[in-house]
Symmetry: C2
Subunit: 502 residues, 2 copies
């Protein structure tokens, strides 16, 4: 134990790392010696945090008798500046023993998993330690482990409760650009009178998440109380999950899974169901798109995943309906927040220009959700969904949800635009979802809401040489040029000579 040092907030945002700073000439220790250790434990005012140590070589940021903490560490610590802090080599969290056992093939107990997740949520794990847990789990998780992981993750955050037993939701595992059915399903279902408290993510590596597209129309960064008020008034909402603190351990795990490109079924199931459990959802429709460039490549994988979802949801007492959908090409026309919001609003407005595939897909999912209503069970969902959409009731509900969340000024579509043309005659045989997502992202989406790609052709369509395949929209000159060059080099479209019967 070394100290005491005075606590100082260092104005550096270290994102998901908890960082402590010592001046090179510390009054109480040789910082170089401490840095060789994996982690430090800082203690003060009865509180303790674990932190990685950085050393500051400039003398005007920290005095010799001070210890600095980054913005995140300061919030986590919750102590005022000037508090007397003792430092020592951190003992690794005890739950790392269980991670170690998992690496060597053990099945973990409910208690062991709960302790791991509690330590992860308390930021006692480094990202390296989280990676070790996830990689060990990616190879094998038993169904019981997945269930316990789901329960443990759900227990780390807020738990929403709603009046009544039937609280519905829909979720798509993602990977298909333009698949913005939530913005249509939520108003249909809420217009029917069911409770659908939808939280969505923002895009991290994709060109738009549902939260990004909804934000074109309305505020989405609602806190829990605001979200409760919107759902109480309208029966549904479309908010960003980031301020609602549901299953925060899941957000931490995802921040490591994503860069490592880990796509283990057990982790996916626990991630989705823990969020829904925390959101108070009792009935869930899950959209699993299947396609060569989607997250699920074939039916066999989809069926295995479905089994695991069914088992865990069953143990949680959650009714689950899984819909396998076509993930072979983007849905709708727009890719990018404003373009996707436009598509969804065209469907809700029954605009003749509305993309038929998005409308059909949204109706099918809304039908499944509506059939959680005992009065509609057994096949009446589709007719009811169509009625709510065609009558304009879903559109009016959407307008009310937008007003309740707080309407935003429409940012419009990007002012720079250019069409990408077919190089020869042919029939569209394939569209690479991943490639188009990359292009839309390079155009500026999701940060530039109006940037993205607007598709004119889908699989099975006949094109002639020089005919536009899609239009690129951008808000900045520099990205505009880069995307156009990239799209010209590889459009993401494959043409065949034979005409495909669609």
């Amino acid at each position: 134990m070394t100290g005491p040092l005075r606590l100082r907030r260092v104005p550096i945002d270290t994102n998901r790392e908890v960082v402590a700073y010592l001046p090179r000439r510390s009054a109480v220790c040789r910082p170089e010696d401490l840095q060789a250790l994996a982690k430090l434990e800082l203690s003060g005012g009865g509180k303790h945090i674990l932190a990685t140590l950085n050393i500051i070589d400039r003398s005007d940021i920290l005095a010799p008798d001070e210890i600095g903490v980054s913005r995140q560490a300061y919030e986590l610590f919750g102590l005022p500046e000037g508090t007397a802090i003792e430092i020592e080599q951190a003992k690794p969290p005890e739950s790392l023993d269980a991670v170690h056992a998992k690496i060597y093939g053990a099945e973990l107990s409910e208690t062991a998993i709960a302790e791991i997740i509690r330590d992860v949520a308390a930021m006692r794990y480094s990202r390296m330690e989280i990676a070790a847990f996830l990689v060990a789990s990616a190879t094998f998780l038993s169904a019981a482990e997945v269930l316990n992981l789901t329960l443990a993750m759900s227990a780390t955050g807020s738990r929403l409760q709603w009046p009544g037993d039937v609280v519905v939701d829909k979720h798509c595992i993602g990977g298909v650009p333009g698949n913005r059915t939530s913005m249509i399903v939520v108003p249909i279902v809420a217009a029917h009178g069911l409770t659908i408290p939808k939280t969505s993510s923002r895009a991290i590596t994709s060109p738009a998440g549902t939260a990004d597209a909804m934000e074109v129309l309305a505020r989405v960064d609602l806190g829990i109380e605001e979200m409760r008020a919107v759902v109480a008034a309208e029966g549904g909402c479309l908010v960003w999950g980031g301020h609602v603190n549901l299953s925060p351990a899941d957000d931490i795990l995802i921040s490591v899974e994503r860069p490592l490109n880990l796509d283990a079924p057990g982790l996916l199931v626990a991630s989705i169901l823990s969020k829904k459990l925390s959101a108070g959802v009792t009935r869930l429709v899950l959209d699993l798109p299947i396609g060569p460039s989607a997250k699920i490549r074939d039916h066999a994988s989809a069926l295995r995943l479905r089994q695991l979802f069914d088992y865990v949801a069953g143990q949680l007492g959650m009714s689950l309906e899984i819909v396998l959908t076509d993930g072979s090409q983007p849905v709708g026309r727009g890719i990018g927040p404003a373009l996707e919001a436009r598509d969804a609003m065209q469907v809700l407005s029954c605009n003749p220009q509305a993309p038929a595939d998005l409308r059909e897909r949204a109706l099918a999912i809304a039908a499944s959700v509506l059939e959680f209503d005992p009065l509609l069970r057994g096949g009446a969902g589709f007719a009811r969904a169509t009625e709510l959409l065609n009558s304009g009731m879903a559109l009016r509900k959407m307008e009310r949800i937008v007003e309740a969340q707080g309407r935003r000024q429409d940012p419009g579509i990007g002012s720079m635009k250019r069409d990408v043309l077919a190089e020869r005659d042919g029939t569209i045989s394939a569209i690479d979802c991943y490639r188009l997502a990359r292009l839309a992202r390079a155009a500026g989406a999701p940060a530039d809401k109006g940037a993205g790609i607007d598709l004119f052709k889908k699989i099975g369509d006949r094109v002639e040489r020089g005919e536009p395949l899609y239009r690129i929209y951008a808000c900045l000159e520099s990205s505009f040029r880069i995307v156009y060059e990239a799209a010209s080099a590889d459009t993401g479209y494959r043409l065949s000579d034979a005409q495909v019967v669609s």
Copy 2:
């Protein structure tokens, strides 16, 4: 691609993380959006580095048109301040595909392993990505993968060459406090006339590495040229490996393995043999201590490990002799740099006080090394080693090596001392190596060279109540008190009533 920004060195030492800093109010981007991405690629002057992004909220550290890099990132980049830098989302290193395949059980090709290690050495991997590779490898590495890992790691750094074909070395896998045989074996072997260019590590979590103990007597932070000169003059050296740049990828991997407590045989073999290959060693004696609190717990594990060492060394054309030793208790008396150096010098001086177990163990290992000399092969090594030690030739060689490396002022033993006493009569039945290492470390070792523990009793010794078990030495009042209290609470010694026949 966003930019350009002017490069600025930020005076923060981020150890093994490559960190870039942007001001919150950057002139060219919204730093929050970039931070959500896993990593940034910085490009300028034809060079590229990958970095994690931190955001600085204070305006006097970076101007809006600047991008900062931490000390390590600045050195890695090698560009002057003011260079125009472009930033963009980093593409993950392509070799991560192979890591991904490894997670799901693939055996990796020579090329795949070489690419992974090259990217690790170039610091293109985050610690999280390194953890993923190591955890996936800890579960299973084929013998061919271990060989290719050894070759790839060795290829990342310097490669030493020595005149003659017989270049010998000894290495201990560690875990037993006080096991400082290198400081006795190197002078014996060099006195005989063989070439033994020994590089050692400093302690990270133990109370002393060979480099720490040797540094009590002589400089150890020699560069490659200085090391060459010492070996040319004296036939041997005892230097710290840190300035010699042998297998730097290994150092990076170890910095992740250690906090994760990964002890996979394949990683251990590749780590040790890559360092020896790079050091130009052609004949190696390997000391594997076995004991209940050592790294290897039983003979079966030792034999499996031996097989893997034999296979890889054989493929490398390196002669390997493995010695299984007793790892059930500390070796010698002292634990801590100065106390261990004292023990080694007592053995070299044939001081009657010299610990017999350290002398015997060093002679046994020196004998094995000497038998790499064709003239001594077949059992003549032990007599020759004893002769070199007893005649004072080994001591004189040690004095010459110390002079050649640069003699240092002896720091002496810690000025504060206190004995820890037996609480009852009995016979020492066990000594917990890990506990004693922790106590010596808490006393201040290795940073305080004179701090540590001096053992008076070993397993099988009879003690009476109130008789001293060991003495604690410390240099600082605060650590002195803490260690004494900790030692009184749990001495690390176990007593039994029955007298053990030793």
